[in-house]
Symmetry: C2
């Protein structure tokens, strides 16, 4: 320590948790920070080659102008401010939902803590919803845990699964490309990431042969115990076939892997011939031994689908075939954080328990929902169509979810230039794109990709006319960039 | 694996994360589970020696009948359902707040993600609030992180601090008795708990000599780097003197400890002569070298104080003197979870930025706030008064926070009986209390206590008349229990 009292920090880069240092999360990485700076510049009147920054980096529907679904917000507002129950302008079905939810809250207030896995009647409503979705296959409210968004659920599950040291450290199989929550959680928990590659040539299909390869190699250096699936895919937008899901379940059974199924985009399926099949349903339809044995957790969220209520941080997970003693440990673990945010819980309930035919909000609810979903379907097609016309860009169909993940051909000189600056080549590309056009997308390197290939992830959420302009600007940029470095 | 396909689970008690197994959280432990069962029994018409279960286990004001503060809920409801901006029954100052907050949300919707540390203008409002609280000592919005409740903030900070193996594992000094979030977080993160004991004979005061003892012993087996303080105390209700805080800060400086100050009960100070002093203020008033060197994070929450909005899961933390490179790591870490729940963010803002004199809601806001705080002050005195009349119960004054933590004398036979059943003696006592009276409190063993002493934690939140009955029932139970085992 120096005489003047200045000295090293207790907590420094050198002394801090090395696992946290290894965490990366490209969706909110340096590109976004730069986009926020540019926005600030524009506000201050600084001249730029564009008049607006478009944040196509994250699946944030409302930020892109999507309007909230009226019924969901009415139910939530009524729960937050029950004086509104006397307001004649709010519909009776929303009031009925709110009264029922308030009756289930401590002191009839959403300001009370709830049970740690969530309000009991909401867990029941979720179970009914799942049961309807899965053609009657039973769901037990005791296996439903409400969450602070799907990320929270994924983290809680992984916390249970991580154990061992050296050769017996838990290995977690994740798709590449992946949503970087997975790699971030694995780094934070000091588990081992085991990458299996999706097949870009077959529309990002998951191939069990590739799973087998990844598993075999991983067994040399860790103990792979978990298999994560994202369906519909993020960032890749593919929707898995029923056959593929069956194969994955059989593989998990044979190889004794715990299944984590990220199904937050289950309502976002656009392509003809594509259909969402839940892992739970396929598992039970396969029957024994699978249905009685394979351990599965499935995640859903209020942030995606037709509602896009990201800010509420809500969702649920369903656990299947979990050892009851472990499930008790899970219940204990979630109790430390007291409960998921109640505004998100009540909004989730309004989704699980929407207006029925005959109720006053039914028509408008269905219309608003359909409008969002058909707009998204239209934008998914538009995105692929426009990209498919650009030399040097190849884009698989956006079968589902909210993203295009096109592959971009980069001239050798651009790659060299990027490397000289210590940047991933697609980061270099995305930075220039942002500086020249104001469009913010995320480099493929933030999700993982085959060595030597380059991509970016872009949401399909901007309003159609804006999306069209964005896609055209992007196409022009690509041509210009390619020319500049050829 | 057996022929019938049944086999061991992938995830079992034997194979799961051993750190999670070690986590304990008594506030929502077995006593609460039993209370919930009893409530269910009563609902089903099962006869019990009581007609109502009273959950005095947790600081959950609304569940105990406290009404939400009108202005806070008006602002939140307006943000959730902006149609209400046209409603003439809602006051203009609430509408003004809501308009300003909505303008700061992506797409003017609370359904959009916000920046990961929270909405910028709310961070500014928090900084102004802290600055007013601390007599003008500056607060920088860049050092404010909004959280999903204080628990979330504590967890994020500890994640940064945990490192090392064997003798260099991070040691975390926590008070005993403590709020068990701390022991739970330390177990989950595989750090080393270093206990320092509060002095029950001096109204649970913190003594630096005891800190020194704890530190010296801990240095034999780990690397103590963090000192956690809870002021006002939970479960112990003491309010630290300014002198004590100065001594703690000097100690942290001398011994190079990172300070974590849990100040969530800063608005809950009742005793005459007691006053809340923030660690930040005292640190800056001490001046150099302390003010330029000591690393501090302070936590606040919307769950306590006069608002008691636990269900919203909101709060903030302020970091002081943190290494900028580490702070970048913190910002990255919180970005993985995207953002704190926006309904909690906007409610927090309404607290930081309450109605001013002259605004339409000013009078009623002040009245509602004062009513809650004076009721609590009254209940704090009542609790101590009644307990002080019961032979075998000793209760320090409840200077602040929301709990009494009385010491109970247990007959030797009761202690033996408990041990024969494998229960902590105060757990045995609390279970019987629950079964016979329906009163749910938490055994002192869940918070830690001096060997051979027994306590329980009880909230002072029930409405005054109910609290009086509860205290009398508890006193009678104590006499009966003592007699039965003498």
């Amino acid at each position: 320590m120096a005489e003047n009292g200045l000295r090293d920090k207790v907590l420094s880069l050198g002394s801090m948790n090395p696992c946290v240092k290894r965490v990366e999360y490209a969706v909110r990485g340096p590109i976004l920070s730069r986009a926020v700076e540019l926005e600030e510049d524009l506000k201050q009147g600084v001249k730029k080659p564009f008049t607006e920054v478009i944040k196509a980096n994250i699946g944030d529907a409302h930020a892109m102008g999507q309007r909230p679904i009226t019924f969901l917000r009415q139910v939530s507002a009524l729960c937050l401010y029950p004086e509104l129950l006397n307001n004649p302008q709010l519909p009776d079905d929303a009031k009925k939902r709110a009264r029922r939810l308030l009756a289930a809250c401590g002191g009839q207030s959403v300001g009370a803590y709830t049970a740690s896995p969530g309000i009991e009647i909401i867990r029941q409503d979720v179970a009914h919803y799942i049961q309807r979705r899965d053609g009657g296959i039973p769901a037990n409210p005791a296996n439903i845990y409400l969450t602070t968004g799907a990320s929270d659920g994924v983290m809680s599950t992984l916390k249970l699964l991580v154990a061992g040291e050296g050769l017996s450290r838990t290995g977690v199989l994740i798709p590449i490309p992946q949503y970087p929550l997975y790699s971030a959680a694995i780094a934070e928990l000091d588990a081992v990431q085991v990458s299996y590659y999706l097949d870009e040539e077959r529309c990002w299909a998951l191939d069990v042969g590739e799973l087998r390869r990844a598993l075999r190699e991983a067994r040399q250096h860790c103990q792979p115990r978990v298999l994560c699936i994202i369906n519909p895919g993020n960032p890749t937008g593919q929707v898995q076939s029923r056959k593929c899901i069956e194969d994955v379940i059989k593989f998990a059974w044979e190889e004794q892997l715990f299944l984590m199924a990220d199904e937050v985009y289950q309502d976002n399926v656009y392509a003809e011939g594509s259909e969402f099949h839940s892992f739970k349903k396929v598992l039970f339809e396969l029957g024994p031994p699978y249905s009685a044995t394979v351990e599965l957790v499935s995640y859903h969220s209020i942030s995606k689908g037709f509602m896009g209520e990201c800010g509420f941080r809500g969702g649920y997970m369903e656990v299947v075939n979990m050892d009851p003693a472990v499930q008790q440990q899970l219940s204990k673990l979630v109790s430390v954080r007291l409960c998921p945010p109640v505004p998100g819980q009540v909004l989730l309930d309004a989704i699980m328990n929407p207006p029925s035919p005959g109720e006053p909000s039914y028509q408008s609810f269905v219309q608003e929902k359909q409008a969002v979903l058909s707009d998204l379907a239209h934008r998914a097609r538009l995105t692929q169509e426009i990209f498919s016309q650009v030399p040097g860009i190849r884009c698989n169909p956006v079968q589902g979810a909210m993203y295009a993940f096109p592959r971009i051909q980069l001239p050798a000189r651009a790659v060299q230039e990027a490397q000289a600056r210590g940047l991933a080549p697609d980061m270099f590309y995305c930075r220039q794109l942002l500086e020249e056009t104001g469009i913010c997308v995320v480099p493929g390197s933030g999700f993982g990709q085959q060595e030597g290939t380059y991509h970016f992830r872009m949401t399909i959420l901007p309003p159609t006319e804006k999306l069209r302009i964005l896609l055209e600007k992007l196409s022009q940029f690509h041509a210009k960039f390619t020319q500049a470095y050829s």
